[in-house]
């Protein structure tokens, strides 16, 4: 049995930053991760584009992780190769499995930062065979960048989110033939910068308003049948095209990894938190992709650091969070956080429900003008509103 003030579950960008935030506020911190390293998904993202906000510099994923690691005070205890198996929020304890044994950890407060996993091809109900050669983008990314193996020779990418775009370029550079990226939306799912540097630079075609309707081949993938879709994402008969590939890389979104806590705290798609990082259970904080899917690791790190700080204050009896509802108004598809706690500025992250050229973002009584908004790119606004009963966030096209 071990006793700490703040336990941080997951040592990706959110968890590392939380450990830093908590330790800098005087807490005795334990940082846990199942991998044998810290940094989480960053370690496999060897492309550049991390840290522009936080470090005013463009770093690769592993470099960003290294920077953040150096900021963690040395008195933080880090346990890698340690899997959190069960959490007992009422008793404020959790069970950790590692090669060293099975340990019970008692905490005063917790920061939950387990990130997101990828939606799988199998969950999309796309008919056909079940061959080798279908990988999620993150899986292919890890295989190529960390393990050093190529999944196939000729690939198609499904989903134009950032991970999909980045992987199209990676596979192309490492010598695979990438014949295109298929996206069911009428606009790209990832950052514009990635469409340009990952696809346009290498003449990789992007098929918007298209989806995969069937896969063929066994035991190896041989063909992917794609079709145009209508406004409801239903394939349009007669538009099917057969593409001969041995690899299908699927990047159709991320799902917060929240199972361990889902029974105990309020959740929607992710774990719901206030702008202080507090969940519906006072002693539990959460940050990063387990709360909502962020575009930029910079945002993730900032939210993690804040959650860590507040978890430390909570552990010392110096934090009393408020939860003023932050509500979705028109034009908003994704909104974070769920509640406003006036002890920190309100950092609002939102995704619009459709592309807008010029718009007004309203947060309670505040109005901000914005340009060129797309659902793919998260809007981030930080304000310090007065206490109200609730804060409605909306985006109106002008």
């Amino acid at each position: 049995m071990k006793r700490v003030e703040v336990v941080v579950v997951g040592a990706g960008a959110a968890g590392m930053a939380a450990a830093k935030g908590a330790a800098e506020n005087g807490a005795h911190v334990l940082l846990l991760d199942n991998e044998n390293w810290v940094g989480g998904i960053l370690q496999q993202c060897i492309h550049n584009g991390f840290g522009v906000h936080r470090y005013k510099e463009e770093l690769t994923g592993p470099e960003f992780a290294e920077r953040l690691k150096k900021e963690i005070p040395s008195d933080v205890e880090v346990m890698t190769g340690s899997f959190v198996h069960k959490i007992f929020p009422e008793e404020k304890k959790l069970i950790v499995i590692s090669r060293r044994g099975i340990e019970e950890i008692h905490y005063e407060s917790m920061v939950f930062a387990t990130g997101a996993r990828e939606k799988t091809f199998q969950s999309l109900l796309i008919p056909g065979t079940r061959p080798v050669g279908i990988y999620t983008a993150g899986q292919a990314q890890r295989m190529i960048n960390i393990d050093g193996y190529l999944p196939g020779k000729r690939a198609l990418v499904l989903g134009s989110g950032d991970v999909g775009l980045i992987m199209a370029r990676r596979m192309h550079l490492e010598g695979m033939e990438v014949i295109g990226v298929v996206e069911r939306l009428p606009y790209p799912g990832g950052l514009r910068r990635n469409v340009k540097q990952c696809l346009e630079d290498f003449d990789i075609p992007l098929y918007l308003s298209h989806t995969v309707v069937r896969v063929e081949g066994f035991p190896r993938l041989e063909k992917v049948i794609v079709a145009k879709v209508d406004g409801k994402f239903s394939p349009i008969p007669g538009t099917e095209k057969e593409l001969k590939v041995d690899t299908l890389v699927v990047s159709v979104g991320l799902v917060p990894v929240k199972k361990l806590l889902a029974k105990f705290v309020d959740v929607e798609s992710g774990i719901l938190v206030s702008n202080s990082g507090q969940t519906s259970v006072d002693s539990i904080f959460a940050a990063g992709n387990v709360t909502t899917i962020f575009d930029l690791v910079d945002y993730v790190a900032n939210e993690g650091e804040k959650a860590g700080k507040n978890a430390a204050l909570y552990a010392k009896g110096k934090f009393e969070g408020k939860r003023i509802p932050v509500k979705k108004g028109e034009g908003v598809k994704v909104l974070h956080p769920k509640w406003y706690d006036p002890s920190d500025p309100l950092s609002v992250y939102l995704r619009v429900s459709r592309p807008m050229e010029r718009a007004v973002v309203r947060i309670g009584k505040y109005e901000i003008e914005a340009e060129d908004l797309t659902p793919a790119e998260m809007v981030h606004v930080e304000i310090e509103p007065p206490c109200e009963d609730e804060i409605v966030v909306s985006v109106t096209e002008v």
Binding site: R100, R117, T120, P127, V132, T136, Q139, Y149, P151, E174
Partner: protein, 477 residues
Amino acid sequence: MKIAVIGGGIVGTLIARLLSFYEADVTLIEKENDVGWGVTKANSGIIHAGYDDEPGTLRASLVVPGNEAYTQLQKDLDFPFMRVGSHVLAFNESDLKTLEELYKRGEKNGIKGMKILDREEVLSMIPKVNPDVKASLYAPSAGIVIPWRVALSASDNFVMNGGKLALGERVVDIEVSGGRVRKVITDKNEYEADVVINASGLFADEIAKMAGAESVPIHPRKGEYILLDTQEYTNYVLFPTPSHGSKGMLVVPTLSENTLIGPNAVDLPPDKKGDVSTTESGLKEVHEGAKKLIPSIKLNKVLRTFAGLRPESPQRDFFIKESEKVWGFINVAAIRSPGLTAAPAIAEYVVEELLQQRLKINLQKKREYIKSIKSIQKVSRLSIEDWAELVRKDERYGNIICVCNRVTEGEIVEAVKRGARTLDSVKFRTGAMCGPCQAARCAMKIAKIISREAGIPIEEILLNADGSNIAVGKVRP
């Protein structure tokens, strides 16, 4: 006495295991790279109570004993099995009549504990059931099983008793002379044989033809499924009332805490015995069918979809018989549903009745043989104290590899020790790679463990069949 068993499905492996208790030289030949990858891999996994079959058929006589045999078989072979009970749900007057008939038939077949429940009782047992339900036929003896685990344990037990397992070998011919079987020829080897047992599932007609023995034509009838990552809908196996001989679409809880819905039934021509692809219309039909039993079933937690093929023949009964043309050739063919249920009884019937009685082969029990084995520990099911004790002895049981289903390095190493060389072999033995991430996070880690333990380069590690290499080369060769 040299015996060749063709086909490592649940039927072939249970026959081979039973034979391994006797003084005989037994070889089990399977074309796939592991046992249990044929019909045994993709089905509803139900151990039926046994009211579906007309008394007097071979099926009826094997299903109820088969069901009963599972209690002891589970003790011996240590596979996941639970008698959760089943309900046949009735929604109208004609269904109610059918329930009565099933009940009577079940009594004749010797089923114990059946009851016809009224609407209130059904609703209290299955709160999410379609409220239009009128009654159900409840059979407490029905159970659920992980079918490939039966085949794997049976085959492991067979090997422990000295049986020879020939995996990845396809039987291409059977040599017959003087009216007797002589040899089984595979694409890699030849095996002398005095007796050949044909348990080759969908291909039993083709194998019988190789020997010039009697055969029944077999065509595949596809059944598609959707596997859901939840068990919120039912704790019991749910059937609609059968009509026109079809069992209809079911809702089945599984022993991996999931829910299976399906199967539909689509007849395919005999040359489509490898077509286990799913179809858009089939998956729709499955969802619609399942909603008739549990209207709230949603497809927001889909783990995966798959399809299985029933070995159907025009005569609807099993075809289990010694050949009258070729001495020593035994057909165990047309083992359609409920073949899983009947399998232990089929094995007994083949060894006791056909070999000993009809062919008059006097098999002697070995003086010593192993009859019960332990399967790989599922450590995450242990108490924390027991798990901790295990980690103290072997730290690899503290290294979580499959995070979805909490499978440790220790379990994977043990699977490799027991012969697993492909990712699917590890999956079917340990339950790794079956969770919501569908191997995205652990496949490569598992490949590395197989590579290290068995000394196979990563590029040569297969997902399942030959040619399914998970990597085609190195990034920097």
